[in-house]
Homo-oligomer: 208 residues x 2
Amino acid sequence: MSQPIRLALLLGSCRRNGNTPGIASWVQKLVDARLNPAGTPKAFDIIPVDPTKAPHPYGPIIDGSRLPAQINDAQEYSTEAIQEWSQFIASCAGFIVVTPQYNGGYPGELKNAIDHLYREWRGKPIITIAFGGHGGGKCAVQLQGVYAQLKMRIPVEPVCLTLPRTYIEGEERVSTDGKYPDFLAQYVDAVGEAADGLKASLVSNESN
Amino acid sequence: MSQPIRLALLLGSCRRNGNTPGIASWVQKLVDARLNPAGTPKAFDIIPVDPTKAPHPYGPIIDGSRLPAQINDAQEYSTEAIQEWSQFIASCAGFIVVTPQYNGGYPGELKNAIDHLYREWRGKPIITIAFGGHGGGKCAVQLQGVYAQLKMRIPVEPVCLTLPRTYIEGEERVSTDGKYPDFLAQYVDAVGEAADGLKASLVSNESN
């Protein structure tokens, strides 16, 4: 029996008291249910990546004696943390990004995580679930420019979630406890279709 | 005699062995000469900000109990480092960003530095000197989207510097030693005009 295909779920931010961990847990459950139907062998393994924990390299690129694009072997990265990040991302067949929009763009820690590597991303499919008070679409557009530059594949349009103001400016938060707020229900189909697109892109790549 | 107007020169990256410190030093000299003509009292004070040193807050936003947009007083920020960053940025009348393009976007540490604050940026003018193997224009466009979201003023188009391949992929680097490579000469006028635009924007704001 073959190993499950590994997908990383990259959390754009782990700001304390933010909505990312809750929305990411909701996305993970939906995508898992869609790609691993009950009664079938597990085909996909979805691994959440918290920007504050290894293998995420955290922080900016400090050593730049060589550009990531010039590195062909993970052993050539300057620190063990980046070597580990490289090996992890290289082991993943595709990516799901769940990210807040910050000031019309992506969070810095997400961009740093991407920029530490280069060849590890190339040719792989990536889907984006962005969110914000107005849907996070500006963040998603900026990310798609970055993915394109890295020659990643973008099988579907980003899913953009509009959070009620009480979740942005007020006290309410999407929790990881499994009880998800009603406003997310309207996006269930879109996340499922994005998961289908990711799967189709992986399958089409394997058959190439 | 009035105090010089304070401008911050934000370095987008301090990757070791990168070109940012050298290009930033070249920009600082040009802007200083343009805004502080010989024989006149010093009108503008240009302060370089290295992302690896205070008052730059480094790293991502960790505490998010309140959004920067909800904070009206620097004392309300969660750490002394962010309070210091807030006070510094609040003390500046305008900004010059000198940044490399990374993978079609801005470096993560630059975005983190911006996202730590909110009201401190609002209404202030900002000019951008971006660079890369193809001029860094994609980075500049993404930054302008962020500035617009923050309701900053953008008095001039970004200046985009195309670095020779030997400065990107090879061993050559723009040094801070005051001997600048010939390829930069073609951009001297554009940087001077950007400085004029920044000054005009500051003056027009004062007269409002």
